[in-house]
């Protein structure tokens, strides 16, 4: 474990490491958090991750963060927390060990070793992911029988469905229940402007009395309902009556309404 300790303070080397071009080109978008950065830096040391120099890694990381901050000021908090922690760890690693550990803190070398171990773990998982990807994958590298008609035997012994399916089914219904209750489809209305425009176009044909029902457009499968078509046409016609272009008449309450173009006074 003591091998993990670096020789005592060598600040010049530290500065050099931070400045030399070993420092990564900062591209935060490419990284998924501080651990990812640390792993990328650690791999550059080209040693077994468990024999990593954590002091050097800390320096590189701090240089990375410094550089990142000059570019984008708002570096995510994770990166800064890790930086602070590594700065502290580094200082403890560099301090000569003086007698029994003071205070309850764990041995710095041990903490460093665990960081290295954690990186090794992430690295192992990455490699595992690659190894999986490299396997012959069904539908990409290997294929089962293609003729669906030839396929007749089905294994019946397994009931499909897992908890996720069960949860999805439950939530799906709850959603539908909610939608059922709170979302009546809003009725579409026939715009007044459209009704007026249409009436104006129809004016030449309205020389004789014509019923409102006949004047209003017919209902289509989609679009406004009949009631809206009638109402908007009536409103538009009343406006045109006011403007002197149209006459309207109704014999009795609730009776049919008749419309006719007003004869232009010659």
């Amino acid at each position: 474990m003591n091998a993990l300790f670096h020789p005592p303070a060598d600040f010049e080397a530290a500065t050099a490491a931070a400045l030399d071009d070993e420092a990564l080109i900062v591209d935060l978008d490419g990284y998924e958090g501080p651990l990812d950065v640390l792993l990328a830096l650690a791999r550059r040391q080209k040693v077994d991750l468990l024999k990593l120099s954590v002091t050097r890694l800390a320096e590189q990381y701090l240089a990375f963060v410094r550089q990142a901050r000059t570019r984008c000021f708002a570096l995510a908090a994770d990166y800064l927390v890790m930086a602070a922690w590594l700065a502290y760890l580094k200082s403890r690693l560099l301090l000569p060990r003086s007698g029994p550990a003071a205070g309850p803190e764990p041995d710095a070398g041990e903490v460093a070793a665990r960081l290295a171990f954690r990186l090794a773990k992430l690295d192992a998982v990455r490699q595992a992911a690659e190894a999986l990807k490299a396997r012959p994958v069904l539908g990409r590298d290997v294929f089962t029988r293609g003729d669906p008609q030839a396929v007749r035997i089905v294994s019946h012994r397994r009931l499909e469905g897992d908890l996720y399916a069960l949860m999805s089914a439950y939530v799906g219904q709850k959603k539908r229940e909610r939608d059922r209750c709170y979302r009546p489809a809003p009725a579409q209305s026939y715009p007044l402007d459209d009704a007026r425009e249409r009436l104006r176009e129809l004016l030449p044909d309205l020389a004789g009395w014509t019923s409102l029902a006949a004047v209003a457009p017919a209902q289509r499968d989609s679009g406004p309902r009949r009631a809206s078509l009638l109402a908007s046409t009536l409103s538009a016609s009343l406006e045109m009556v006011r403007e002197g272009d149209l006459e309207a008449r109704q014999i009795d309450h609730f009776a049919e309404i008749w419309l006719r173009a007003r004869k232009v006074a010659a």
Binding site: F143, T144, R145, G146, D147, P148, A150, R152, I153, V154, H156, R157, R158, L159, E160, G161, D162, L163, Y164, A165, L166, M167, S168, A169, Y170, V171, G172, Q173, K174, K175, R176, E177, R178, R180
Partner: protein, 219 residues
Amino acid sequence: MSGPADTERMIEALLYAAAEPLDTADLAARLPHGADIEAALKALSARYAGAGVELACVAGRWRFQTAADLAFLMTKEREDPRRLSRAAQETLAIIAYHQPVTRADIESVRGVQASRGTLDTLLELGMVRMRGRRRSPGRPVTYGTTDAFLEHYGLAGLGDLPGAGEMRAAGLLDLDFPADFAAPDPTHTLEDEDPLEDDDAPQFHQDFLGVEDGAHRGS
């Protein structure tokens, strides 16, 4: 690099994975140029002769098929339902989370009438059982899940059913879901439930008919 043996292997793989029989032109189009397809088909045919699967040429197209004398194996189709219908899946979910529930409860959540077959399927599969009767007018039968249900879903107990937190974590609850959405606690026992009596068992549907005859005196 492709000798006759390679061509044979390639044709074998192509015919196996193809969705329909292939003729020699189809094969030629997909094989390296210059492959001797006729010879390879002959060799392949000889290799498969007498096996459980045979190479057959139908109307100039080639395909693998199971040997005719083994047709008797293929006729056995068992009819156990193995994929739950959506209705069954949903009904099961409601029973799991809301148990004990009555048929009317299920219908009120699903918004549709529970078809008779759905609940029967679940009962037959042993996923669902009748638990008791609710102390309410008509004394409807209540349903709950079985041990087989727990086993199938790998749950130690009903308390292990995923809750709202997990649903959210699994991305199932979108943002416009009420923040206070909570899945009900299936371990909760309602006090208004009576145990089933012996003569209840076979009468699955009696409860819905409303023909409660007062035979059940247990209050």
